[in-house]
């Protein structure tokens, strides 16, 4: 039955101040049930304080065939990483 239902991508915010992260997907007949399925499937063990669900069909993905032109050029440009700064003690989530 559930394989007849559309797929929804699930995003969980672990705690205030953090961004929502993709955790997986659920099948559900509509948005409200998708939220409930996401709650029952992915937040049973206090994993989060907020949930998003998005129809998987609405995700626009890059083409794996274009990986070389999309991602390889960044490989030798380490100066784009902010790794040359000293991070003060006590700063988290960086």
């Amino acid at each position: 039955m559930s394989k007849d239902w559309p797929l929804w991508e699930v995003f969980v915010r672990a705690k205030g101040g953090m961004s929502h992260r993709h955790v997986g997907s659920v099948h559900a007949p509509d948005a409200e049930i998708a939220l409930r399925h996401a709650r029952d499937t992915y937040t049973r063990r206090m994993e989060g304080i907020s949930l998003w669900v998005v129809p998987s069909a609405q995700i626009v993905a890059s083409d794996p065939a274009d990986d070389a032109q999309n991602f390889d050029p960044a490989q030798d440009k380490i100066y784009r990483h902010p790794t040359f700064y000293d991070i003060p003690d006590g700063i988290t989530h960086i």
Binding site: V26, A28, D40, T41
Partner: protein, 281 residues
């Protein structure tokens, strides 16, 4: 005439430890303990039996997500049962534990309402049962947060959030199946038809409930019924369903008179602890 020995301070100290505040000298209110036992037993048995029923879906639900929803509800309910049966066992004061009450009582000693022991049937029948029960349990637990017994009040305050979710989830499914395809609608109508005759028992005010209300242990069931009926009507209307015709109410669960379904449920639930007494996990 021989005189009684004097009560020494050290004797009083021993008595004081057992019932503090000079209460060792007060008359024991045995009726209170009996009512508390009966009440906690009913609350615990309702949650336990419905939890076991929902657990029967494990691995058989229409989809893995629904499987988890049902198992989550089952675990919430079994958690509530553990608390209520612990309170019942203490109120009874015969040295039985919550596990003894759950696994070593026979069918005639169970005090759950008949609604929760009804078979799962199909998913629509399970959701009809869940909605009709959770809508009642939510309103009952709201009232129990003001229970004169602190422990029952504390369990209700924690559980009412779980039950609010059960009620919402079940209502969503009643609406979707009632307002879904021709087949889902027919199945939901059948499910509601099956469960409808067990509603009056939820609001039955027998001697135990009257006494418990007088002691401030339970809310007034008649006032809960107003909100319950309104909620059920609203959800059925949204589902595009007519309320089933009122049938002859079936009572008796609170006195241990159960349908034939409960014995089969208990046979599965109690098999292990009865076959291997004192087995530990």
């Amino acid at each position: 005439m021989p005189s009684l020995p004097p009560i020494r301070p050290e004797d009083e100290a021993v008595a004081e430890k057992i019932r503090p505040g000079g209460a060792f000298d007060a008359p024991v209110d045995e009726a209170h303990g009996r009512i508390l036992f009966e009440l906690a037993l009913r609350l615990g048995d309702d949650s336990l039996i419905l939890g076991q029923r929902l657990a029967e879906w494990c691995g058989h639900a229409p989809g893995v997500e629904v499987d988890l929803s049902l198992a989550n509800m089952a675990l919430d309910l079994i958690g509530q049962a553990t608390h209520f049966l612990t309170i019942a066992a203490e109120a009874e004061g015969k040295g039985r534990s919550a596990d003894d009450l759950a696994f070593r009582r026979d069918v005639l000693d169970f005090k759950n309402c008949l609604l929760v022991e009804q078979p799962n049937g199909d998913f629509a029948q399970t959701m009809a049962r869940q909605f009709l029960f959770s809508a009642w349990q939510k309103r009952l637990f709201d009232g129990l947060t003001a229970c004169a017994d602190d422990r029952i009040a504390a369990v209700a305050a924690k559980a009412v959030k779980e039950v609010a979710y059960h009620e919402e989830l079940a209502a969503e499914w009643v609406i979707r199946l009632g307002d879904g395809t021709e087949e889902s609608r027919a199945r939901m109508i059948d499910g509601l038809d099956w469960m409808w005759r067990f509603i009056p028992e939820l609001f039955e005010t027998d001697e135990v409930m009257t006494d418990a209300a007088a002691r401030g242990l339970v809310p007034d069931l008649a006032s809960i019924r107003i909100g319950y009926d309104a909620r059920v009507r609203a959800v059925l209307a949204e589902a595009g369903l007519e309320a089933p015709a009122d049938q002859r109410p079936i009572l008796g669960g609170r006195r241990g008179h159960h349908s034939e379904h409960l014995g089969h449920l208990l046979a599965v639930m109690q098999y292990l602890p009865r076959t291997y007494p004192d087995a530990v996990w």
